[in-house]
């Protein structure tokens, strides 16, 4: 959750590691049983902004057979930063250093059936000192109109346990459930259209157990109270995407996303990616632009003058926007034997603007991504 994590004091911290073990067993058995080709990849991403630095390694394996594909991954987030402390009304004047690590393991399988349908399933488990999450999803995809149209539906369910590192007795739960439906259409030999509709519901504890909100009287902070959010949130998102290849070496992705939820948050996101290949696709480059604008939640205030039902100190529920730009380079050397190698590096800069968030009006984040992948046939 982003605070000091001096130990595993909470009930969540003592959870059994059965999920991780099951995942590893399934992954190992799949690797031994079915593959005709195997792809392994290692990624590293560093996100750094004034709030925190997050280092995220990730290792993934894909073992593909003729009718079945198994995937597995492990990732971690090593978070370091400083969180403002609101133990007194003169808030935002102190900060406490924190360091925390989250581990996540996931395995999934996809089947390719002769009737052009492909069911798949995933399970994931994530844990850290004060938060544990178990997720499962199942999806089915099917092709229509001589493989011009592909429809898919994915059902997801997540169960989270929220703890506090300084209170072993504290334990709250959060259920999430979602359904995503997608349609992909090959409109022309050089044009693909894609549409996603995503609806999600979250039920349970959705506050930050550490975050306090100041109350003001006559312009002066007089008290701090615990953050309180509604325990139900229904979220909708629609995202059309167009992918156009206007040359054998040039590819352009354009996307727009509209989001709305019953907390009053509305957002618009526009994005574009331009890919270029050189040297018979052994070298690729990408430029990326993204713009984001968000209307804050109904109950969010930059300053609370009265103790209402809900209050939040979360800038993610404020009115805000961001602009991001980045570049990426992929190198794919010629195959040696049955093995193919891929190396890539990406760098992104994001500038955030906050309209009604008292502690800051803007910040800039930088992200570095490095990736190494190898594929080989058996």
């Amino acid at each position: 959750m982003g605070v000091n994590s001096g130990g595993r004091g909470s009930g969540v911290g003592r959870q059994k590691e059965w999920g991780v073990l099951c995942a590893m067993v399934i992954l190992c058995s799949s690797l031994a049983a079915c593959p005709s080709s195997t792809t392994t990849g290692a990624d590293y991403r560093r996100h750094s902004d004034p709030l925190a630095t997050v280092d995220s390694p990730r290792v993934a394996v894909v073992a593909a057979g003729e009718e079945m594909e198994m995937q597995g991954y492990w990732t971690a987030d090593v978070v370091t930063g400083a969180t403002p402390v609101m133990a007194a009304p003169d808030v935002y004047t102190r900060a406490t250093e924190f360091s925390e690590t989250r581990h996540e393991v996931g395995v999934g399988a996809q089947w390719q059936r002769g009737d052009a349908s492909s069911p798949s399933a995933w399970v994931r488990t994530s844990r850290e000192s004060d938060y544990a999450s178990q997720a499962a999803s199942a999806s089915v995809a099917r092709e229509f109109r001589e493989r011009h149209l592909r429809l898919s539906a994915t059902k997801r369910a997540v169960y989270d346990r929220v703890g506090r590192v300084d209170d072993p007795g504290f334990s709250e739960s959060l259920w999430s459930s979602g359904l995503a439906t997608e349609a992909t259409y090959a409109m022309r030999p050089d044009l693909v259209g894609h549409l996603t509709w995503d609806v999600q519901g979250q039920f349970g504890y959705q506050h930050n157990p550490y975050r306090m909100v100041p109350l003001f009287e006559g312009g002066v902070p007089t008290a701090v109270v615990a953050e309180r959010h509604p325990e139900r949130r229904i979220r909708h998102a629609v995202e059309p995407v167009a992918i156009w290849s206007f040359d054998e070496a040039w590819f352009l992705h354009g996307r727009y996303r509209f989001y709305a939820d019953d907390w009053g948050v509305r957002s618009h996101t526009v994005g574009a990616e331009l890919w270029r290949t050189w040297l018979d696709d052994r070298l690729r480059g990408r430029l990326r632009l993204r713009g984001y604008g968000q209307q804050g939640a109904r109950f969010y205030r930059a300053r609370y003058d009265a103790l209402g039902t809900y209050r939040s100190g979360d800038y993610r529920l404020s009115t805000m926007g961001s602009v991001a730009a980045g570049a990426r380079v992929d190198i794919r050397p010629s195959p040696f034997g049955e093995r193919r190698l891929r190396v890539s590096a990406a760098y992104d800069v994001t500038h955030y603007r906050f309209v009604d968030y008292a502690p800051r009006t803007s910040m800039t984040a930088r992200s570095l991504g490095l990736s190494l992948g190898m594929e080989w046939e058996r």
């Binding site: 959750m1 982003g2 990624d43 996100h47 709030l51 997050v54 995220s56 993934a60 991954y73 987030d77 978070v79 930063g81 969180t83 403002p84 994530s126 850290e128 544990a132 999450s133 997720a135 001589e146 011009h148 997540v158 989270d160 959060l174 999430s176 459930s177 979602g178 992909t184 259409y185 090959a186 409109m187 030999p189 050089d190 693909v192 894609h194 995503d198 979250q202 930050n208 979220r235 998102a237 992918i243 290849s245 590819f251 948050v265 957002s267 690729r284 984001y292 968000q294 979360d314 800038y315 993610r316 805000m320 890539s344 992104d348 955030y352 502690p359 984040a365 992200s367 991504g369 990736s371």
Partner: protein, 69 residues
């Protein structure tokens, strides 16, 4: 009204489509013609966006990894 406009736009888009023969699909099969050319990168980026914006993500991805303020 908005739904009607969406339906009309979708219908016009379908009319504008052509039949793509199997021998014309080479470019469609290229990585860069996929909605997410690099799923691993997309997932890691989505995690960051969900930690810094209020409308990304949705279904929980665990508590930290966010450096939430």
């Amino acid at each position: 009204m908005k739904i009607a406009i969406l339906v009309i736009v979708a219908a016009l888009a379908m009319v504008a489509c052509t039949t793509v023969e199997p021998w014309e699909r080479e470019r469609l099969a290229h990585d860069c013609m996929q909605v997410t050319p690099d799923a691993g990168e997309a997932e890691m980026r989505a995690k960051t966006e969900a930690a810094r914006e209020g409308s990304s993500g949705g279904v929980s991805r665990g508590g930290a990894g966010c450096g939430c303020e």
